[in-house]
Point group: C2
Chain length 198, copies 2
């Protein structure tokens, strides 16, 4: 027998489409909505609906944005000569939080993954090459996955032909890490890339 009302089932079903949200979690979230005050529920629904209308990708760097070009591309205080290439917009947030980078970004929109049918043409590589003109340094900041490594190497190779310095994020032991628990690949790399202390 069907116990829960259709609308609750539908919310559960829709919410469980998010990766990482299982059926039980989705159901708990749906029930939670019943305890919110109606204005808040209304607001959540509205911001979700509005997101499809308002959000787009910046035509220059592909960052998710409401205004095109995005505020980062328009910011004249940022250094135009250094470009950081990342997989997606969330990586920009992570890098901005460090306050260590003041250049511009280029969002690749993913990584090369032949198995999933993602080749160079599916990534924002043409628009990257079009921007290289006045760039002095390109920092490749892919995620440290196999696909990320492959993509980094691919980018490094095609950028080699241009008159631009190509760097990438340092690999090593993470801050606060415990040597004992760090995986062998990371620790091996940290040994290989060791540098003088003073």
């Amino acid at each position: 027998m069907k116990i829960l009302p259709d609308s609750l089932e539908r919310i559960t079903q829709q919410l469980s489409r998010f990766p990482g949200i299982g059926k039980k979690t989705a159901q708990r979230m749906a029930f939670q909505l019943l305890e919110w005050n109606p204005e808040d529920v209304q607001q959540l629904g509205e911001v979700i609906i509005n997101s499809t209308e308002k959000l787009r990708n910046c035509s220059v760097c592909n960052l998710v944005t409401e205004a095109d070009p995005c505020p980062v591309c328009l910011d004249t205080r940022r250094d135009d000569s250094i470009l950081c290439i990342v997989e997606d917009s969330r990586d920009v947030v992570a890098i901005e939080e460090t306050s260590r980078f003041n250049g511009k970004y280029h969002i690749l929109g993913g990584v090369l993954s032949p198995l999933e049918g993602v080749g160079p043409d599916q990534l924002n590589i043409q628009s990257l090459l079009a921007r290289i003109g006045d760039i002095v340094e390109v920092i490749i900041a892919m995620n440290p996955s196999v696909e990320g490594e492959t993509t980094s190497l691919y980018l490094a190779r095609i950028l080699q032909e241009r008159d631009v310095k190509v760097t990438r994020l340092a690999r090593g032991i993470p801050s606060g890490g415990d040597l004992e628990y760090i995986d062998g690949v990371t620790l091996g790399r940290a040994l290989d890339d060791r540098h003088e202390l003073i």
Copy 2:
């Protein structure tokens, strides 16, 4: 500098109000929405908004429902003489999935918790007492927490005065459990409540 557009920030903010959904998870969900097709996003927003309009509590048993009385209360094939008292509507779903119960339900709407200001008057106890008339057995199915136990005892005491059999869910070792890893309270109770095998 603010990197993400306002609408994305608002979705993140609203989603992170769900218990168990932290800021990072909420942000990942918000970004995920950008990859859905617009119809699905629209649908999610709409079911959320509609939930506030359509959903209410059954005036008999307090189950969350679209129609009042709820389908469980209206179902004439169910046994009217046996009533199962649970904390909230999700517990009804869990019990229904066992297919072992064919009576009616009463949703208490919480448990007694003096520290959080929940006394008998905040729970659906008056409406429970009003239903007792023709009931032969009341099964108290609270969660096995301290508050759940307290509430069970409270209910048992006030139902004692009525001409009704009061039972509660058996305690013991869960199916598939490993004795070695079962907590002492549970195992001790399972020993106390042991019964003959044949």
